[in-house]
């Protein structure tokens, strides 16, 4: 197993075996992020495939100033934006059969399943810019300045988008799910 520096060197040297390492190390993580960003698993697979091809072909542009995953995720983000522009006129509903495809298997806990379905449905209704910051903040766990650098905006813009995205989610998610309760998360309510 190669470490990150070796993979970068192999990518820059045009060694196609580095792609295999990329898939092993970051394939699933990229796919999950792509799914959250685009809302469709089949399209997410295609986006990751394109990401890997572009990452290999443009590896010389990678200056090593960020982690390799951040570089890959940046390419994925650009492709996702392009994807959303192409599908701009599509409207997400709760279960669009031609768009969402089969739902990924989730937790066996029906409450958690319902909560995650509701949250995903609400996130799908956000604008792409708001969805990006929500996914980067709460799924990728990025800090504000990291998100700002990643998507190329100021920290103030990130905070503003986050603020309005959370307000929008709050309107979309029923209070019964208790996601915004100051007393605890949906998980803490359980014994």
């Amino acid at each position: 197993m190669m470490d990150e520096a070796d993979i970068v060197a192999a990518l820059k040297g045009g060694d196609a075996s580095a792609v295999e390492e990329l898939v092993c190390l970051y394939g699933d993580r990229l796919l999950r992020s792509a799914y959250l960003l685009c809302g469709n698993e089949a399209d997410a697979q295609d986006l990751v495939q394109d990401t890997l091809i572009l990452a290999f072909r443009n590896a010389r542009r990678f200056r090593g100033e960020s982690a390799l995953y951040t570089y890959l995720h940046g390419i994925l983000l650009n492709l996702t934006r392009h994807y959303h522009r192409k599908r701009k006129r599509m409207v997400y509903t709760d279960q669009p059969p031609e768009l969402a495809g089969p739902e990924p298997s989730v937790s066996r806990d029906p409450d958690a399943n319902a909560a995650s379905s509701t949250l995903m449905g609400a996130i799908r209704q956000l604008s792409p810019a708001h969805r990006e910051v929500i996914i980067l903040r709460y799924y990728e766990g990025m800090k504000i300045h990291e998100i700002a650098r990643h998507i190329g905006v100021t920290k103030g813009t990130v905070k503003s988008r986050l603020h309005y995205a959370v307000i929008h989610l709050r309107q979309l998610i029923p209070e019964e799910l208790n996601l915004f309760s100051a007393n605890g998360t949906y998980d803490r309510r359980k014994p």
């Binding site: 196609a16 792609v19 300045h145």
Partner: protein
């Protein structure tokens, strides 16, 4: 520390990305302010819930085994790269921006055309020297009907350079009436 500043810095506070001194002042404010403490707790609750739910949602997903062979085949065959639109293309595809640029262009062209037109007769009339006997505040109109020249004696006909007759209405002072006829009458009497 006030509420507005506290809520502005709350994300950096959670990220431990604030310079020294600020975290302690935020903590002091949170102790003292119920609203900010509630907002902070709600943000933290949503953050924890959303992180957990999103990870649960996708944890079972994995990349399809066909992806790697497809990528390798694409790299070996030299197939064209997936197209990422350039920044310029992205900008000009936005309809609102394109409409804004079009509006600016139309305004500029309209302004240029307007500057080439001869000055409006009203403006020209306002540049006519004032009445010699009174202090004139004048307003020109575009009446070209010369039958109204006797409309009121407080009007002065000005011949315009472009041949249009303009009427200057004397507002401030009524010009003095001629006194010669009265003197003639007195002399006759």
């Amino acid at each position: 520390m006030n509420c507005k500043r506290c809520q502005k810095l709350i994300h950096e506070y959670r990220d431990d990305a604030l310079p020294s001194g600020l975290p302690s002042s935020i903590e002091e404010h949170l102790k003292a302010c119920d609203d900010c403490r509630k907002a902070f707790a709600q943000e933290r609750a949503f953050s924890e819930s959303a992180t957990k739910l999103l990870h649960e949602r996708v944890h079972s997903m994995s990349l399809h085994p066909d992806i790697l062979p497809k990528v390798q085949a694409a790299l070996e065959s030299g197939a064209p790269s997936p197209r990422i639109p350039s920044h310029r293309r992205k900008v000009f595809l936005r309809p609102a921006l394109a409409m804004g640029v079009a509006a600016v262009l139309v305004t500029v062209v309209f302004a240029m055309l307007r500057n080439h037109q001869p000055p409006h007769p009203i403006r020209r009339a306002q540049s006519v020297p004032e009445h010699p006997q009174s202090y004139i505040m004048c307003m020109a109109t575009m009446y070209a009907d010369e039958t109204k020249t006797d409309w009121i004696e407080r009007r002065l006909i000005v011949e315009m350079k472009n041949g249009v007759h303009g009427y200057l209405k004397i507002i401030a002072t009524k010009p003095p009436k001629p006194t010669e006829p009265k003197q003639e009458k007195e002399a006759e009497s």
